[in-house]
Every structure is written in structure tokens, then in C-alpha cells.
């Protein structure tokens, strides 16, 4: 190739982080291009259609919801930074959610977007723990979770200084881990704080039309600011010379150059892009010094079942629950699943149970369940076995999850109300997002400052360590600000 296109900034991945970084950079006059391998934007929070039905991939609920007028939280910051009006996201609040533990969910803590509800639930169920719980919450409120240089500390150790009942401890960890932890059994305390605030001190909301409303808003801002976007055009290689990203080789063999590169592909995935094992013309390139910090691939993967119903789920007697985090065992185990799927714990989401207002409602009922799953036991199955495993586990997951909802009016009520089903597995996740190991929450080792051993290559998104949809957007914003805009580079 004799001519090559040069950008001020090339961004790998059109997910939440990549789009948010792109908006900032394009707004301030940088020549930016986002390269995305998939045909749909959104990354880990994308959408798809089957038989004319629209499905969201990852979005159960957008966390970090605060009402208008609450300032200084992640949602407010990102609206300001991206010049988005609150109304553009059209967020509707959850009705109520629960953490339900025990073989049939006997111990249950309800929470809403009003934190006092959760606090009074803890006081009711765990009266001996409430003082310690309040001290923990006070600590969380004042903790500087966005500091880029905080020292890592075990969240379990910190929580045990305040909460001494192991059941309450696990009930606090379960939702926080399921909505964002890339580490087994424990979390880094800063990560726990980010998620605790996002879920409990802030709250859940979603637009009626789901994640595509968020994505459409970001795409419109990015386009208006002059950003370029190339879909179905992944980056297959980052050419590194002398510790500097000198070019990007695209999937079609084209070569582009950029002064700065922001990768949202994940830390281990980006390291892989820097290695010289693939090149479209087949020529072997001298191995480059990739980012020196070797990041382990995440161990935690998930499966999710989606059931489309011909009525509102509440019409099955299931009540108003928006999200239910459940666990049936004495100890809550958040770890790589030893079975193909671990149905002991999981998350139920009923998207109909957001408060969309008196007139608006989703066109059909939806019932979604997420459980931990083993990537290794899904990825290499022959096609027939894969399909059979999906059918088997679909049934097992539904059965497990229903223990934590009110009983159905009749045994076959759910089957009779079902119009369609879908299910994704660890294999699906890797196929559509490029995340190694089906690890939605990425590598257990986060890179808070986004730096790599390559001087003009920065990480943003999940592996930078701000979690959730809002966290991912803030990550893109922070990395664009910190590495590119603030220095006036």
C-alpha cells in the first residue's frame, strides 16, 4: 500500500467506551476514526433482531441512575462531558429489585432507587448488623473511587470490618459481583465501591426501547461532531516499532496510521493485537515488544436465557420485581463454573417492570435469566451437542430461577405463555465481542491509568476498570481527556 490514511486518534471498538471517547475527541477537533469489527455498534451492550423481534444483548438495567438535580455522580458527569441532555436517554426507573437467598429465597432484601428502602430492609432482616452496615455505607460514600492511583485492597476484608454476618456479606457481594466483577470470590475494594454506588446508592433505569436509545444518542453526537466510523472493519494488528504503535492493519489488509490509539478491545485482547502472529499478506513480522504488563484473560463467563411472553410477566403472578439476584446455597460462590452452567445463583431480569408511565409498555413480556457458565465446556462443542446443551440448560436455568419468584398459577403456565426463546452462551459472547474466554467483565487485572507499554496506545472500557454502561462511557471520556485532550497533544 502506497498511501495510508492518517488520523489524530484511531479507536478500536464502537462500544460505549469507544463512542464516548470518540465524541470527546471529535468535539475538540481531532480527526478520529472508530474501527468496529461487528456490523452493529454497542460492543458488550449491543442489540440484535430475530424474526423481527428486537433483543438487547447485555442490558438488564442501566445502573448509576440519579434523578435530575443530583450532581457529581457518574451519570451527571457523562451527560455534561458528552453534551447530552438528560431527556435524550429517556430513562425510566425500576419498580423494585431484590436480593433473595436460600433454597426458595427465604431471606430477601428489597431495594429501589431510594436507598432508605434498602437500609430499612437490612435493619429489618439483620438488626444486629445495621450499625456496621451504616458505617460501611458512610465509608463507601466518601471513598474516592475514581482516583487513578488508588492502592488495591480486598473488598471482603474491608466489608468484614463492618459486617460480621456472612449471610449479609454474601448478599451484598452477590449483586455487586454479578453486575461487574471480573475476579472470583473477592473484588478490589475500589471496584466494589463503584458497583455498590452504581446499584444501591444510585439505581436502575432504562429507556423503553432499551440500549439502542443510548447507542443512537451516542452515534448522533459522534456524527455531528465530525467523527468517522468504519463498521465491519476490525483491526487485526497493531504494528509496534520501538515501543510505539506505528500503524494499524485492518481486517481487509488496509493499513492506517494514527498519532494516538485507544483500544477498547480489552487488555489481553489488545496485547494479542500487538503481537506479530497475524498479517494479511502472510509475511512474518519481527515480534514486537508488546505491552509488557501481561494481563490474564478473565475466568468468568455467563449464559443468559431470554423468554418472550404473550403477556406481562406480572400477569403470571410474578409481581413487580425488576431484577432479582438469587442464590440457593449456604455460601454464595462467584467463581468459574465447574459445571457447564452453575444454576445455584444468578440474576433474573423482567424488563417490563420498569416504570414506563401509564401509557407506555413493552410490546411483549420478557423474562431473562443469567447464570455463571464455563467457557471451556461450551466453546468446543460440536454443533449438535451445542444445540442440545442449550436446550438442556435453558430448562435448568428457568427451573432454578423460578424458585425465587412467586409460584405460577399452573405448572405449564410459563410454557403456554411463551412465544419465543433465545439463549446466549460463553461462545456467543466471544463470537460477537471478541472477548477472550467469554469474559464480559474482562481481565481481573484492571489498568486504571489506561497506559500500556506502547507509548501512544491506551486502554479504555471494561479493562480500564470503570464498570457498567455508564462506567464504560466514563472510561472512554477519562482516557480521552487524560491522555489526549488535557496535555493539548
Amino acid at each position: 500500500m502506497t498511501t495510508s490514511t492518517h488520523y489524530d486518534v484511531a479507536i478500536i471498538g464502537a462500544g460505549m467506551a469507544g463512542l464516548a471517547a470518540g465524541i470527546r475527541l471529535a468535539h475538540f477537533g481531532k480527526k478520529v476514526c472508530i474501527f468496529e469489527r461487528h456490523n452493529a455498534p454497542g460492543g458488550l451492550n449491543s442489540f440484535y433482531s430475530i424474526d423481527g423481534r428486537k433483543y438487547d444483548v447485555g442490558l438488564h438495567a442501566m445502573t448509576n441512575f440519579v434523578r435530575a438535580g443530583v450532581k457529581g455522580t457518574p451519570l451527571t458527569k457523562l451527560l455534561r462531558q458528552l453534551r447530552i441532555e438528560r431527556d435524550e436517554f429517556a430513562l425510566c426507573e425500576q419498580k423494585r429489585s431484590r436480593v433473595a437467598f436460600g433454597p426458595r429465597g427465604e431471606v430477601s432484601l428489597t431495594f429501589t432507587n431510594d436507598f432508605t428502602v434498602f437500609e430499612s430492609e437490612v435493619a429489618r432482616q439483620f438488626p444486629a448488623q445495621i450499625d456496621g452496615f451504616r458505617r460501611l455505607v458512610a465509608l463507601i460514600r466518601t471513598y474516592d473511587d475514581v482516583s487513578l492511583g488508588a492502592q488495591p485492597e480486598s473488598a471482603r476484608a474491608v466489608i468484614r470490618r463492618h459486617v460480621t454476618d456472612p449471610l449479609l456479606e454474601d448478599m451484598l457481594f452477590c449483586p455487586v459481583m454479578y453486575y461487574g466483577s471480573a475476579t472470583e470470590h473477592d473484588m478490589e475494594f475500589g471496584q466494589f465501591v463503584i458497583m455498590f454506588k452504581a446499584l444501591f446508592l444510585e439505581g436502575f433505569a432504562r429507556p423503553l426501547d432499551g440500549v439502542r436509545v443510548i447507542i443512537r444518542t451516542l452515534l448522533d453526537k459522534y456524527r455531528a461532531a465530525g467523527g468517522e466510523r468504519r463498521m465491519k472493519c476490525g483491526v487485526q494488528k497493531i504494528v509496534v516499532r520501538d515501543g510505539h504503535a506505528s500503524a494499524l492493519i485492518l481486517d481487509n489488509g488496509e493499513e492506517v496510521t494514527a498519532t494516538h490509539v485507544i483500544s477498547t478491545a480489552g487488555a489481553p485482547e489488545t496485547e494479542r493485537l500487538c503481537r506479530s502472529d497475524r498479517r494479511s499478506d502472510g509475511r512474518e513480522v519481527r515480534p514486537a515488544a508488546g505491552p509488557a504488563r501481561d494481563h490474564p484473560t478473565g475466568e468468568l463467563s455467563y449464559t443468559e436465557t431470554i423468554t418472550v411472553l404473550d403477556r406481562e410477566p406480572s400477569a403470571l403472578g410474578w409481581g413487580d420485581d425488576t431484577i432479582v439476584f438469587f442464590n440457593d446455597s449456604e455460601k454464595f460462590t462467584y467463581a468459574r463454573s465447574e459445571a457447564q452452567v452453575d444454576t445455584r445463583s444468578g440474576v433474573i431480569c423482567i424488563p417490563n417492570n420498569f416504570d414506563f408511565g401509564p401509557e407506555a409498555h413493552l410490546p411483549e413480556g420478557l423474562f431473562r435469566c443469567t447464570c455463571l457458565a464455563s467457557y471451556d465446556q461450551w466453546v468446543n462443542l460440536p454443533e449438535d451437542d451445542y444445540q442440545a446443551a442449550k436446550i438442556r440448560w435453558y430448562g435448568e436455568i428457568q427451573k432454578s430461577a423460578q424458585r425465587f419468584l412467586p409460584p405460577l398459577p399452573s405448572a405449564d403456565a410459563l410454557v403456554r405463555a411463551t412465544r419465543a426463546t433465545d439463549m446466549f452462551t460463553p461462545r456467543t459472547i466471544t463470537k460477537f465481542t471478541g472477548r477472550l474466554g467469554g469474559a464480559i467483565y474482562g481481565s481481573p487485572q484492571k489498568v486504571r491509568d489506561g497506559r500500556t507499554a506502547v507509548d501512544n496506545l491506551y486502554l479504555a472500557g471494561t479493562d480500564q476498570g470503570f464498570l457498567g454502561i455508564i462506567g464504560a462511557m466514563l472510561s472512554g471520556i477519562s482516557m480521552a481527556n487524560f491522555h489526549i485532550l488535557a496535555g493539548g497533544k
Binding site: A68, G69, K71, T76, K77, R80, I477, L485, A486, G488
Partner: protein
């Protein structure tokens, strides 16, 4: 450009980057940070918008000069004048 006009330039920028703030009664001699919820990301945006809209460069060492509307006017007005504005 007069100092009052410079203040209006800064107010216009704040209105765009922080539309959720009420800027109608800001005291010119009190730190902006003490009257509104503005964090370091917002201050970076004031600097960036000055560059984008008015070609005014504010080096990082001078960020404290933007603390209040009065100090903004003192610091920025000569820069506007130097650009012939």
C-alpha cells in the same frame, strides 16, 4: 473586548458544559467551584472550549487563574485583546 464581555464568554461556555447549573446569580468575586458543582473535568472543558471557540490557549499552570469570573476576566481579557478581539 471588555472585562464584562470576557465574563459573558465564560458564562456562555459554562451554560453549555453544565446546563444543569443555574448561572443567573453567580457572584463574580467568589470561586466558581464554591457556587456550582464543577469538577476538574468541567474546568478542563472550559479551557478546551476557549481554545476551540476563541483560539485562546490556557497552559495548565494558569488554570488557577480561572477560579472566579473576576479572575477569568483579569486573565483572559488581555489574551482576547492580543488576538485583536
Amino acid at each position: 473586548m471588555t472585562k464584562d464581555e470576557t465574563k459573558q464568554v465564560v458564562l456562555d461556555i459554562i451554560a453549555d458544559i453544565a446546563p444543569d447549573e443555574d448561572i443567573s446569580n453567580l457572584k463574580p468575586d467568589v470561586r466558581l467551584r464554591d457556587q456550582m458543582q464543577l469538577d476538574s473535568m468541567d474546568f478542563l472543558d472550559i479551557v478546551m472550549e476557549l481554545r476551540k471557540r476563541h483560539n485562546i490557549e490556557v497552559p495548565e499552570a494558569d488554570y488557577p487563574q480561572l477560579a472566579s469570573l473576576d479572575s477569568c476576566a483579569e486573565y483572559l481579557t488581555p489574551k482576547f485583546t492580543a488576538l485583536g478581539k
